[in-house]
Amino acid sequence: MRYIPHTPDEYQAMMDTLGIQSVDELFEDIPEKARLARPLNLEDALNEMQLSQHLMRLSSENINVNEVPSFLGGGYYDRYVPAAVGALAFRGEFVTSYTPYQAELSQGTLAAIFEFQSMIQSLTGTYAAQASMYDGASAVGEAALLSLGQLRRRNQVVALRGMHPDSLKVVETYVNARGSSLLVADSLDDLEKKVGDQTAAVLAQYPDMLGQVTLAQKAIELAHQVGALAVVASDPVALALLKPPGEMGADIVVGEGQPLGNHLNYGGPTFGYFAVQKALVRKIPGRLVGVAQDIEGRRGFVLTLQAREQHIRREKATSNICSNHSLNALMATIYMALVGSSGLREVALSSAQMAHYLERRLGELGLVREPSPASPFLYEFAMRVPGDVDQLNRFLLERGILGGFHLGRFHDAWQGLWQLAVTERRTQEDCDRLVEEVKAWISR
């Protein structure tokens, strides 16, 4: 069979050692009533060649972002992933290893995680970061749980509406599980009303779904005013230009890490990051790597502060995370090393430049930016479309463009809003083509 090395002789020799005639004997401890008496009803096996042809066909039945310009964003961006990222991260010793339990055989993974923690700490302006979460949404969820665990008498978290709806949904699932609740505030005023002595955390996304960057600072202050923790979720690439949330006073900074050297993968696997101020280090969920000395005095790295984790705390745990998204974090680490501080700034800046160009051109066509044409943004923004956004997107798709996302599909108050993201991969030609087609659609 496919990946089984055993020859018939070896099977026989092993059964002889065990004194059995058939492997069936090894399954006799399964109650007869439970045993499966028929073959599993599965599609026939394919050999590798057939499989590869089958998968190439399935793959080609999807439109990919290398074929058509895309203006989709919302936390996942078709940024350029340098070739060296894959060439290195896919080396077998990285890919086929487990969580680095035995430090002596895992220094590659451990050192890379330590680098990752350092880079995230520095980008976010916090004290420390852990090894990775599943994704941005679950990272926000865990941040909410951490807060509720910290402030045990409180049972609410309050989020600003501009947070990614999936993050809100996950927070809701997570906090409801422990009997707490999530309130969503539609504005800073609303937030001010909703926070109080039950608030364990205020959650804000920076920049948010509408591209807004100005709300986070105030949200952090409101959190602290009521004694809650301030949690900020950030696109890490945006932090190349924006004041880091840690410096603004956020207690926890989390986010979706995909924009750092990860392919879109239709949403996963990517990774979430999780960084905290010093006071919360021993509360951080998931793996942490620290520096250690070996018996010969050499510097190396180990999993540390494990007393936080599920395998030690068991029924006292606040997070159950075990496997994380280490390989995706490795890709991000290699990406950040490759592009460096200057490269990451260039990525963000060239995206912003083209985004502002596009926004101006679309404005000339009569599309109006929300929440206000004057609010600052980086490389993602929302515009009100004169007409049916879904229809516009279909029109564009027929012309080979993946248009922006219709935010109304996420939230009713956002009906008619078109979320446009511009990455460094978009050329002026791409933007001009979009503008031309929007114009054609408007005057159809």
Binding site: Q102, K243, H325, V339
Partner: protein, 488 residues
């Protein structure tokens, strides 16, 4: 040699991959578009290195790692089987890897078909009626499943508050129950390593929401009383949760659904050979029986007139447990694995995994105590109490194994076995590899008496040796800034 860090190679002004040149910015000034107080002034702190530096550094780091591609990795409970290269290749196809999660469903029909087939396959293998591919890992699947149980019971008007977990359970099981707001009660094991049925019978009551079970359990033993156990829990009004970490033992032989389980998660990064990547990503799809289906996370994949689409109607769903649809790149690999095997292939996988474990267990039993005298499934636990009394702890033996070229088995888990060494060979290891491992283990056992210090100081030939982990935890240094004292 100290283990190197990329930061140490940084030189101010050195560049790796560049993007647009300053001129191409055409006079664009971020200062004109952002309020001054929101503009970053602190350095980003990323290393400044050339591409060559990066390539050499991570090439070197990789060689400091041990993976399945390096050698035998009998890490119990982790199913470190061979990870097929063709599956990695598949996941990197542009139609899978370079697809945005917000693309219209009509533009991703190939992918949706794949996901649908995978759901169908997992349903059949687990004996469940519906599957969600959303959870990102085993623990995540557990949370999803336990929340479905909670939601279901609540809809039945029952506010049940406790989850039962055997003492041999993996840490994520109790942690999950706690995270889901349940009180955890620990069920003792019996002398045969299974759930103590009498104790269980005494523990269930009207507060019992369910029992979480791995079967075969973490001792590698099949719960022979599983049908009775299921009856007890169901009769008490609770549900049965199946932790599928050990499903590599049972494919095509028995299905969780047929054992009486109501919710099942599968670890695709174990049973379905997707690589573990030094800690993840994994994927933990959850299957449920019909009555729990309404609670599955949304969106759900459905067949419409124009093809497959994501149905975002929440209904009674517990909601979302992560963004978008799941770890699609992992799911593609799992699908490739499924299609590479078919029913015969998967059955052979489990049979061979079990044969390998029994063979290895039997051969090691001459020198190491196997605490339960039973047929095992895909893994087994040794209890090194004998070795301990002769002067070498399980950890010492594990570290010494490294010197013989293998990754050590899991140590000190499950907690119910003293000095546990948990060995899972998997089906992709050959007889001669197992024989080499036995030889090494026998030699190590002799070494305990002949030169115990060799074990205490092991490993000897690695790039670093044992660490002072206690000190590392006492004064944790978690970042480069902390290491260099530049911390803010």
């Amino acid at each position: 040699m100290d283990i190197p860090l990329i930061f140490e190679k940084s030189r101010p002004g050195r560049r790796g991959v560049r993007f647009l040149s300053p001129e191409s910015l055409d006079g664009f000034q971020i200062e004109e578009h952002l309020p001054r107080e929101l503009i970053r002034t602190t350095p980003l702190g990323l290393p400044e290195v050339a591409e060559n530096d990066v390539v050499r550094h991570y090439t070197e780091l990789s060689t400091l790692n041990y993976g399945v591609d390096t050698g035998f990795y009998p890490l119990g409970s982790c199913t470190m089987k061979y990870n097929p290269k063709v599956n990695d290749w598949a996941a990197s196809l542009p139609g899978f890897a370079d697809v945005h999660p917000l693309q219209p469903d009509t533009t991703v029909q190939g992918l949706l078909k794949l996901l649908q087939s995978l759901e169908d396959g997992l349903k059949e293998i687990s004996g469940m009626d519906a599957v969600s591919l959303q959870p990102a890992a085993g623990a995540h699947g557990e949370l999803t499943g336990i929340l479905m149980i909670k939601a279901y019971l609540r809809d039945q008007g029952e506010e049940r508050t406790t989850i039962l977990v055997p003492d041999s359970a993996h840490g994520t099981n109790p942690a999950t129950a706690a995270m889901a707001g349940f009180e955890v009660r620990v069920v003792p094991s019996n002398a045969r390593g299974g759930v103590d049925v009498d104790a269980l019978r005494n523990m269930v009551d009207h507060t019992t929401a369910g029992l979480m079970l791995t079967n075969p359990n973490t001792l590698g033993l099949f719960e022979e009383d599983i049908l009775t156990i299921a009856d007890i829990v169901h009769q008490a009004g609770g549900l049965l949760y199946y932790d599928g970490a050990n499903a590599n033992a049972i494919m095509g032989r028995v299905r969780p659904g047929d054992m009486g389980f109501d919710v099942v998660h599968l670890n695709l990064h174990k049973t379905f050979s997707t690589p573990h990547g030094g800690g993840g990503p994994g994927s933990g799809p959850v299957g449920v029986t019909r009555r729990l289906e309404p609670y599955i996370p949304y969106p759900r994949l459905r067949q419409g007139d124009d093809g497959l689409y994501w149905d975002y109607t929440p209904g009674k769903s517990i909601g979302k447990v992560r963004s978008y649809f799941g770890n699609v790149g992992v799911l593609v690999r799992a699908y490739a694995y499924l299609r590479s095997h078919g029913q015969e292939g998967l059955k052979a996988v489990s049979e061979t995994a079990v044969l390998n474990a029994n063979y290895l267990s039997k051969r090691l039993a001459d020198h190491y105590r196997t605490p339960y005298d039973r047929t095992v499934k895909h893994e087994f636990v040794l209890s090194l109490t004998g070795q301990k009394s002769r002067g070498a702890r399980a950890l010492d033996v594990a570290k010494r194994i490294i010197d013989y070229g293998f990754y050590p088995p899991t140590v000190y888990f499950p907690l119910v076995v003293d000095e546990a060494l948990m060995v899972e060979p998997t089906e992709t290891e050959s007889k001669e590899t197992l024989d080499r491992f036995v030889e090494a283990m026998e030699t190590i056992d002799r070494e305990i008496d002949q030169q115990p210090e060799v074990l205490h100081e092991a490993p000897h030939h690695t790039v670093v040796r044992r660490f002072d982990e206690a000190e590392a935890a006492r004064h944790p240094i978690l970042t480069w800034q902390q290491l260099t004292g530049e911390e803010s």
